[in-house]
Symmetry: C2
Subunit: 148 residues, 2 copies
């Protein structure tokens, strides 16, 4: 997240988005909870998943994802922020490196977010991620060649 | 799209969404164009695609999709509309029946939309569709058994 000459609103929105990815990389459920509105109308679509509605279901999904993720790093690109009053739209590509057991995956996800302005700052009301189809999206380490 | 006791804003948003699906089913590029903002900041993510930015690229994608679609019908479900001032958020599941050559596919797509209020009504500024993974998402007609 490079800091160019963003408006205060856009800078604040980008800060919440940065906190989202920091929480994901840290597999930190408390930190992830802090960037969401945590309301009955929150919406989350993980890549390939059905639509999750409401914070309890969304929180449980993050708990399950974090429990099944060993290592993940995000390199966001093409981040695009628009602020309309108290609503912000954020889109971008998540370039993801993840390691789970002997699997190393490089994947790309198209992500859209909607954030609402609250007294405590901008909070995520919707996150929608979808897999970008690529020819070689998963690399598997050979199991008979342990990495030293 | 059942009409319950929606606010005038929500009813107008739902009308634009209904026009979107009617245009898609009719494979009508002019009608599809009318429901979009058609600005440089429009965003569209088709299921599995990368992010398209700006109306020219989005228009071209619809042209290509319509040219390669024989028959498609949408049954939206779990439609969820929220209006925040001049911004509306719409999420829902698209239950899709499509026929292309000898292939009949039943697929589900999770869709998020952002609409903005304009002098001409609500217009789509973002549409993000992602495939919902299912075990049996594609049925293929046996090629040696022509359907009479």
């Amino acid at each position: 997240m490079q800091s160019q000459a963003h408006s205060p609103d856009e800078a604040a929105v980008r800060a919440t988005v940065a906190d989202f990815y920091a929480a994901f990389e840290a597999l930190d459920l408390a930190a992830m909870s802090r960037v969401w509105l945590r309301g009955a109308d929150d919406i989350c679509v993980h890549p390939g998943w059905e639509i999750l509605e409401g914070w309890p279901a969304i929180r449980e999904s993050w708990r399950a994802i974090f429990a099944n993720t060993g290592f993940v790093r995000f390199q966001p690109s093409r981040l695009h922020v628009q602020v309309h009053g108290d609503v912000a739209r954020v889109t971008g590509v998540e370039n993801i490196l993840s390691v789970s057991g002997s699997h190393t995956a490089h994947t790309q996800v198209a992500a859209s977010k909607l954030l609402l302005r609250t007294e405590d700052g901008w909070r995520i009301a919707l996150h929608h991620g979808s897999p970008i189809a690529t020819r070689h999206s998963v690399q598997e380490l050979p199991e008979d060649e342990p990495a030293n």
